[in-house]
Amino acid sequence: MVFSSITFLFFYLPIVLLCYYLLFRKHKNTVLLIASLAFYFYGEPKYILVLVFSCCFNYLFGKLIEKKRQYATPLLIIDLFINFGMLFYFKYFGFFIENINSLLDLQLLVPNIVMPIGISFFTFQATSYTIDIYQKKVKSAKNLWTFATYLALFPQLVAGPIVRYETVCEELENREETRSLFAEGIGRFTIGLAKKVLLANVLGELVALLGELSTPTILAYWIQAIAITLQLYFDFSGYSDMAIGLGKMFGFHFLENFQYPLVAKSITDFWRRWHISLSSWFKDYVYIPLGGNRKGLIRQCINIFIVWCLTGLWHGASWNFVFWGIYFGVLLIIEKTLLKKTLNSHPILAHLYTFILIIISFVIFHFDNLSQLSTFLNGMFGLGNLSFSSQETIYYLRSYAVVLVISLIAATPLAKQLISRIDQYPHFSKLKDILEVVLYFCLLLLSVSFLVDESYNPFLYFRF
């Protein structure tokens, strides 16, 4: 099930809210657990057992690592081996066989394995839990139901953010659902829904239309590349907003996953703002254990390279994701060694440099067919005898101009800054409150109208 669907909004959510708020405190986690399993079962009936297995297995190993300290290291290794083994089997095994075949000229049967939705997310959450217990950062969950509620919690189950146990363990046992938190959650959820339905989906249509042009042009390639970037941003950050908002409706505080990444001043800055929960996972569980920046510049560069190869591969079993990761790894190393000072002293140039490199990165991300990717990149830079523009290109530019402008503005903190300025004038606060209420209602109404008549509504990050 996806959040941006009629089924979720008007059937699943009312029933879950009703059950959750009508029952006593001690049953609330049970409601959330059943609701979360039902949520997963709706989208992936066959693989519900994989999720249940992951809950039981990691709970058991968490307890064992905590109780049997003398065997903690081998237990953790087994736990990681099983978790990443499952991830490898479901996500990478087919890709691995394909590459073995082409590398060694073999004809091994490539298995057609369907990947359980969200396996990358819940595997990373589960491993962060057992590693944190091993490092004595957290205590193990009180019981299996509490842990299963954490791991399967439907707001963040299938597309993140990657919520660490340490950030919600207290709230799992004892949380307070307040009116203001619930209202905050509604606001955040509505904004996320609008980002996804009114912007990401519409930009997705533009991407598809420009991909089918009878005569591609340089301008069309650039518009498409910008639209791909914005679509990915609003798709994923919209989902994170909805997850955070839903969390608040049930009394949880999930950490932020995006901080306006498209206004970053460097690629280093970008990765502090984009998919924060993933980059901090890799930082804490791979980069720092490898030595981080503590063992000299060369070792640091090697560590960065390893982390970014893995980050790329995490996004999918395809070479474009590996190249995407390497691309960022190389850029981060260049920034660290050469560009840091230049970027700091030329802010406008730094923004432009970062934005263009981000656009190119998401083009690499978008095309899992390498020959299409190469054609696209050549097209962007005018290689291949292309005209600059055409009637079709201008038509789509005009038709989607307002959506593109709204998207570009919405990707910046401009609205947030405006609101904090208004907050400085108390006599405007009533007007601001009314506008906020009206805005949420309008966004909800519009989003539903787009969902009812939907033609394009995939969640891009579901495949991870």
């Binding site: 009936p45 509604i186 307002v402 209420v437």
Partner: protein, 366 residues
């Protein structure tokens, strides 16, 4: 106060529609979209485990959502007024007419179209048969505004002509009959993709005469039906003045019987009962049909086979007075392989009459 209002509007909204979904009866058909709506899927363990059950359930909830048409209207308004889009899902309104954007040039599909024609010629036609082809432009071709990208018709004609006649060899060639210069925007419905029968007598005359046959047409009586909402009307989801559908008849046409191979029964040329159905355009020759045989007892000469799409349904009644026998074959509904047993091609004139959207998506031709 603010928090209460936010919570109140959200709760009323989601619970309101949740309750309404159960209170309001399910709809069978969406008249504006001209399609059957999804019904509550039948439960089966197998379907649940395959995930098909939940997919159907999603579709069901979407289709049966309360005030669906009003939400579709709201979306269309938002697209045009708020986002200033020039079209909504490829549909736009200009000068009180609904248009569909031309699909992008598809080399592969166009090649498939000419290959299909060549395949039919090779399999079923002899070297001395007359073979004609004609292309019906979609109505956007006649729109004056230069904003909207249009299909490149000269390029299409040239491509098809080259592909057909480069492989003709010693056999008879395909003769092109131009319709592009004979049509205008006024010849099409405002809310539908099709041409209006009462406006295309000159097209019928031109086709018959270009095929070297005398054109015969008795005086026609006009039958009108209003309001006619065409397929583009529903897709636009916006209020626009309805069309009037007119069909032309006379004593000769009233007598003629049409053999429908699928239904295995004889029918009349016009089906007035279809006027009040989902697709009023089906008044012409019963709408989508794989294979029709029309015999005119008042005419002794002339046999024509038309490979066609839906445009021919309204055109054929205007041709039949000039022929003794017309066979209509719609390859969207019958495979080329099956024609061997069903159609006698010998000595008959052949006309391939297709609209651009079908040519550019010709893989639907079996």
């Amino acid at each position: 106060m603010k928090d209460n209002l936010i919570i109140g509007e959200f709760i009323v909204f989601i619970f309101g529609f949740f309750i309404l979904s159960f209170l309001l009866p399910d709809q069978e058909v969406s008249v504006s979209e001209r399609r059957h709506l999804e019904k509550l899927p039948e439960f089966s363990f197998q379907k649940v485990m395959d995930g098909d059950y939940f997919k159907s359930l999603d579709q069901y909830f979407n289709d049966q959502f309360p005030y669906r048409d009003q939400f579709r209207w709201l979306k269309a308004q938002a697209q045009f007024s708020l986002f200033q889009k020039l079209d909504n899902q490829n549909i736009f309104i200009e000068d009180n007419q609904v248009f569909s954007l031309s699909s992008a040039w598809n080399e592969k599909e166009i090649k498939h179209f000419t290959d299909k024609l060549l395949e039919i010629k090779k399999r079923y036609l002899t070297s001395n048969q007359n073979i004609y082809y004609s292309i019906i432009p979609d109505k956007i071709a006649y729109l004056e505004s230069s904003i909207y990208p249009k299909f490149n018709y000269p390029r299409l004609n040239q491509t098809i002509s080259q592909q057909l006649n480069s492989q003709t060899g010693a056999g008879s060639s395909f003769h092109y009959i131009d319709l592009f210069s004979l049509l205008s925007l006024d010849d099409y419905y405002r809310t539908d993709i099709h041409w209006r029968q009462e406006k295309i007598s000159h097209i019928a005359r031109n086709l018959v005469e270009e095929m070297g046959h005398p054109y015969v047409s008795s005086k026609m009586e006009e039958h009108t039906f209003s309001p006619f909402y065409g397929s583009l009307y529903g897709q636009s989801a916006l209020p626009i003045e309805a069309d009037t559908l007119t069909y032309l008849s006379n004593d000769v046409l009233d007598q003629i019987e049409v053999w429908n191979y699928e239904k295995q029964k004889k029918e009349k040329i016009y089906q007035p009962q279809a006027l009040t159905g989902i697709d009023a355009y089906s008044v012409f020759l019963s709408g989508p049909s794989a294979l029709l045989e029309i015999e005119n007892p008042n005419q002794e000469e002339g046999e024509l086979i038309i490979f066609r799409d839906s445009f021919a349904s309204s055109l054929t009644p205007l041709l039949i007075e000039s022929y003794h026998h017309i066979t209509l074959i719609d390859l969207r509904y019958i495979a080329t392989d099956l024609l061997d047993d069903l159609v006698d091609f010998e000595g008959k004139d052949i006309l391939f009459l297709y609209s651009v959207p079908v040519i550019n998506q010709s893989s639907i031709l079996k």
